[in-house]
Symmetry: C2
Subunit: 230 residues, 2 copies
């Protein structure tokens, strides 16, 4: 019955923590704890989107929310003395995240049988840059920016289903995050949990296991392709 | 300065007339003049979008505008006796259009250097189905449906530039149609005219030559790739 798969991107398809650590280290060397910097940057993600959700900020692209958090962190954690070009380059590290090793081969297999689309809070240009660099073979890119509603707002899930000219049960969200999958299920979409135990580093415990009744539970995207008969 | 290329699709990248003739013939054989049917269906395209533009119809996907015209033409031109499944299949012939011979190799070359995106009045699912079938290697698919404004409304051109996080002169519209290119130029985009003399059949004269000062004029998409140093 499912004919299209939507993929959460940050954490599910690409390794945000490793990519941020790599680029912070490239600029700052050992002047800052790059892992702590990455975790603090990502910790600012939800609260910054909440400002938009509550109307305390007008619609703001994720690149610009990332930059607000980055500027604060550079003051708090350093390094000092970055040039404007350095800061602009660092802010786009989210465009340069690497896929998990199974992501590209898994997506290629899944695409033989299903329409596959990015479904992310990242702005459209971020997702396009990432897909070109990483070789993610999307049929379509659904950004929260299209609807001016960040996940888990229901408008984003419903809007993607409408653009696909499908009904909710014909669309499945694939994600490593329970809150995203629960929001999709609440709109009637099918759901697939993919475990990404390394997403938040060695000491994190969140989203290590499915916390709901999902349509599928997979070890990674290659495993999902096998479960779906691809 | 240009870093992204937007492509008109019907006529510029794919051969709508040949695809409609093929599928009308498959259903109706010699009962109807398939070329006349294709031309009449396409002639309904502008007026049906005008109903939306003037507010006489609420926002309506192109698939549904095509179906309104199709139902009228089946009464006027035949064939009689099509089943509901036949009619639904025929209406999606616009999802099954073939690219011009230079389109896929030209797009592949252009994509090495530029972000390339569909920019079409077709609904998103139509464009995704077409790209999968024809192997069009889009980085992004911009449908009028995203903005609920059909070309040549300026909202569509401005909206695509905003989603690309670029300025108008950094984006170039590639099209075989003077009205589309003139609307893009009015919004500050760069423009490339591509000649498609066979688009409307052997007796048509519209858009055979550029009717404005465009940034580039190319014989086809391979030629455009050469002109742009790809």
């Amino acid at each position: 019955m499912v004919s299209a798969l939507l993929f959460d991107v940050f954490g599910t398809v690409v390794d945000w923590r490793g990519g941020v650590i790599r680029d912070v280290t490239a600029l700052a060397g050992t002047q800052v704890d790059a892992a702590a910097f990455a975790d603090a940057w990502r910790a600012g993600y939800g609260p910054s989107m909440d400002l938009v959700r509550r109307g305390e900020l007008p619609w703001t692209k994720l690149d610009d929310l990332h930059r607000r958090t980055l500027d604060r962190l550079l003051e708090e954690l350093g390094p000092a003395g970055l040039t404007p070009d350095d800061k602009a380059w660092l802010n786009t590290c989210w465009h340069r995240l690497d896929p998990w090793p199974d992501s590209v081969p898994g997506l290629r297999r899944l695409r033989e049988k299903f329409v596959i689309a990015a479904f992310s809070n990242g702005n459209l240009s971020l997702l396009v840059d990432m897909a070109r660099r990483a070789g993610l073979p999307w049929d379509a890119v659904f950004s929260a920016e299209l609807f001016r509603h960040y996940k888990p707002d229901p408008e984003f899930y419903r809007g993607a289903v409408e653009l696909l000219s499908l009904t909710p049960p014909e669309v499945m969200l694939v994600a490593a995050h329970n809150n995203d999958l629960q929001a999709a299920a609440a709109q009637g979409l099918a759901t697939a949990f993919v475990a990404r135990p390394a997403e938040r580093g060695p000491d994190a415990h969140r989203d290590q296991a499915p916390a709901g009744e999902y349509t599928y539970v997979a070890a990674d995207l290659e495993d999902l392709a096998t479960l779906l008969g691809c």
